[in-house]
């Protein structure tokens, strides 16, 4: 796909994008404390393609919301690209999200009154990008998601898969450090889901864009290079650690 190089972010390959330390989120804290997320450590590097899995109520969305700066942890810190986002004010967080994080939601969430192009352009307008640069970027993004012919079509005239591809383009429009995708394939048929995952995987591979998915979908889990399993708000399994342990074991055996 052409033009992917233009989407490259600022963090160097392999550098930490997300560093979450001891983060917890407690609900009903005045009566019986229920930990939605309990003392989670998470370290994500640039270029990772990670799936956050677990049963319903395991804390996936809460963790994703906290990493995305939509929710604040009750304990712990989240450092993104060197910035402790738990220390930011509500307004600073909005600005931080605008410039560093791309979101893809389960139900597409495009603005229904705007065309596909305007939806993608919207983020860039919030960033006060000039018209010329916006136009160039919109055209590149639409080529990458394969919807060059749907620029001026409203979301209601697009299929679910096409809408989600536009949502990915919108998430990429702000040149974010990483993309958080909450159940992005949940409402898509197999072909659309597969097509969307192909695009995301390609962006990850060629552009080194970091993806963190919260998902139940086996199709996403199969594509992920790292899978973190949450159970009752704790990380029950992290394939990155398993891989590291295997590496350590094989190294010690060799020695």
């Amino acid at each position: 796909m052409p033009g992917l190089s233009s989407l490259r972010g600022e963090t160097e390959r392999g550098a930490a994008v997300i560093d979450a330390h001891n983060i917890s989120k407690v609900y009903n804290s005045k009566t019986i404390p229920v930990y939605a997320v309990n003392n989670v450590h998470l370290h994500l590097e640039r270029g990772e393609f990670t799936a956050l899995v677990g049963p319903s109520g395991s804390g996936k969305t809460t963790l994703l919301n906290m990493i995305g700066g939509l929710d604040k942890p009750d304990e712990g810190n989240i450092i993104i690209n060197g910035v402790d986002i738990t220390k930011l004010s509500a307004n600073e967080l909005i600005d931080f999200r605008l410039r560093n994080i791309g979101f893809v939601f389960q139900s597409f969430n495009l603005i229904p009154v705007l065309t596909a192009k305007e939806n993608v352009e919207f983020i860039m307008q919030l960033q006060k990008m000039n018209r010329e640069e916006r136009n160039k970027r919109v055209i590149k993004l639409f080529k990458e998601i394969g919807l060059e012919d749907k620029l001026n079509v409203r979301p209601s005239k697009l299929s679910g898969g096409q809408q989600q591809r536009v949502a990915v383009a919108r998430a990429l429009a702000s040149k974010p450090q990483f993309i958080l995708a909450d159940e992005p394939t949940a409402n898509l048929d197999s072909a659309s889901a597969s097509n969307l995952l192909d695009i995301m995987a390609l962006l990850n591979k060629e552009e080194n864009i970091t993806f963190l998915f919260s998902t139940h979908d086996q199709r996403v889990i199969d594509r992920a290079r790292r899978v973190i399993t949450l159970v009752d708000g704790r990380i029950a399994k992290d394939t990155a650690e398993v891989n590291t342990n295997i590496l350590h074991t094989s190294l010690s055996e060799t020695n």
């Binding site: 939509l70 600005d95 939601f105 009154v113 919108r170 998430a171």
Partner: protein, 405 residues
């Protein structure tokens, strides 16, 4: 600019809802303008009827005359003073009067009456006195004759060309006595004027009261009758402290009070109307908030500052309310003008009562531009105040809670 474009598109995302809101505002503005124009028109007509018959919109007296209306509180008429009064651009005419009481006798009957010395031509320009003549002719400057109100003539059992005898107290205690021919009979709507008024040329009155060159008041007519207060202020400043300059509201405070009471009653009716507008607008705003809660959460999540979201909602409200207001005002203009040119005619006994008191039995509307603007602004302000609610909700918006299904 993009906020404006987005607001415009959002306005039409639910076409029916927007049209219903705009229609509610449209009819509210028409109703509001029509009721207030009718109210103002009726009051203007009432004032015109009362004021233009006799009082005038503004009067100039010697300082203290209003509290003690005696001849000794008269002042010397001068062309210079008249000129100073006429310097105010809103003054369209000025006429001198010498007013006092006297006893009027005819054969066995004697009654008290108000003797008014007038400049016949100037008086006619301001109060159209000539039009009130029902028998005989209008007086001239040098006539030694009077115009008698019909009611007074009936009480004295007098007719045209009969002679009356006047006795009273003149200037500085002089005795006033005279004999005059009735040159004309006048009919006034106001029983007060009709039963005890008598007009004579100014010079004749000055001679009768031995008040040579003196007058008790200058009566002013105005181009713009809506601003007698500011004209009175300017004239007072030009004349100095030896004179008092009073508006019709000060001269006949009971009429002013009547209008004030009726206006405050009408305000309650208008208040109910505004409440209905509030409910109409607020209902649609609530629906809009529920419908777009998820989307607003998403907008904040992806990086739209809350202040921008609030501004977006404000622009949407302003555009909807403004469109309704402008259309409402545009539609109410021909309606109000029509009822100004073709006033609602009162029928039956009410009409007879109106006519008996010398009032035209009509309800015209006022075409004062300020009425349209005022009502438009009030509805606009209501819309803006109500739009604070979605703005407040946007300010308090938690994107996570808003996007929860």
């Amino acid at each position: 600019m993009f906020l404006l474009k987005l607001a415009w598109k959002n306005m039409w995302r639910n076409r029916n809802r927007t049209i219903i809101t705009m229609a509610a505002i449209f009819f509210a503005v028409i109703l509001s303008v029509a009721t207030s124009s009718l109210r103002d028109g009726i009051f203007d007509n009432l004032v015109k009827n009362v004021v233009s018959f006799y009082t005038g919109y503004v009067q100039v007296h010697k300082q203290g005359y209003q509290d003690e209306q005696i001849l000794d509180n008269s002042f010397e008429a001068s062309a210079q003073t008249e000129q100073k009064i006429l310097q105010d651009k809103n003054v369209s005419g000025v006429t001198p009067r010498l007013e006092s009481f006297a006893l009027v006798s005819a054969e066995e009957i004697t009654k008290g009456c108000l003797v008014v010395g007038i400049h016949p031509e100037k008086e006619n320009q301001i109060t159209s006195l000539k039009n009130k003549i029902v028998q005989g002719n209008y007086i001239k400057d040098d006539d030694n004759a009077v115009l008698l109100a019909q009611g007074l003539a009936e009480r004295l059992k007098l007719k045209l060309n009969d002679t009356i005898v006047l006795i009273g107290q003149g200037y500085h205690g002089a005795t006033a006595a005279g004999k005059y021919r009735i040159k004309g009979l006048l009919k006034f709507g106001s029983p007060d004027l009709n039963d005890k008024t008598l007009f004579m040329p100014l010079a004749t009155a000055q001679d009768f009261y031995s008040a040579y060159g003196m007058i008790t008041s200058y009566v002013l007519s105005l181009h713009n009758t809506k601003v007698p207060e500011s004209t009175a202020k300017t004239v007072a400043a030009a004349l100095g402290s030896n004179y008092e300059v009073l508006t019709w509201g000060q001269l006949i405070p009971d009429i002013k009070q009547h209008i004030k009471t009726d206006t405050s009653n009408a305000k309650y009716v208008q208040g109910v109307l505004y409440m209905l507008i509030c409910f109409g607008i607020f209902g649609t705003l609530l629906m809009m908030m529920v419908e777009r809660k998820f989307e607003m959460g998403m907008l904040v999540a992806i990086g739209m500052k809350k202040i921008k979201l609030m501004l977006l909602l404000l622009i949407e409200s302003v555009m909807t309310v403004l469109a309704g207001c402008i259309l409402g005002i545009a539609a109410s203009i021909p309606l109000v003008y029509y009822f100004n040119r073709h006033p609602i005619k009162i029928g039956g006994e009410t009409a007879e009562t109106y006519e008996r008191f010398g009032f035209e039995p009509i309800f015209p509307t006022s075409v004062d531009a300020s009425n349209f603007i005022r009502q438009g602004i009030i509805v606009l302000i209501i819309g803006l105040i109500l739009s604070l609610y979605p703005m407040y909700k946007a300010m308090r918006l938690n994107p996570v809670a808003a996007m929860k299904k």
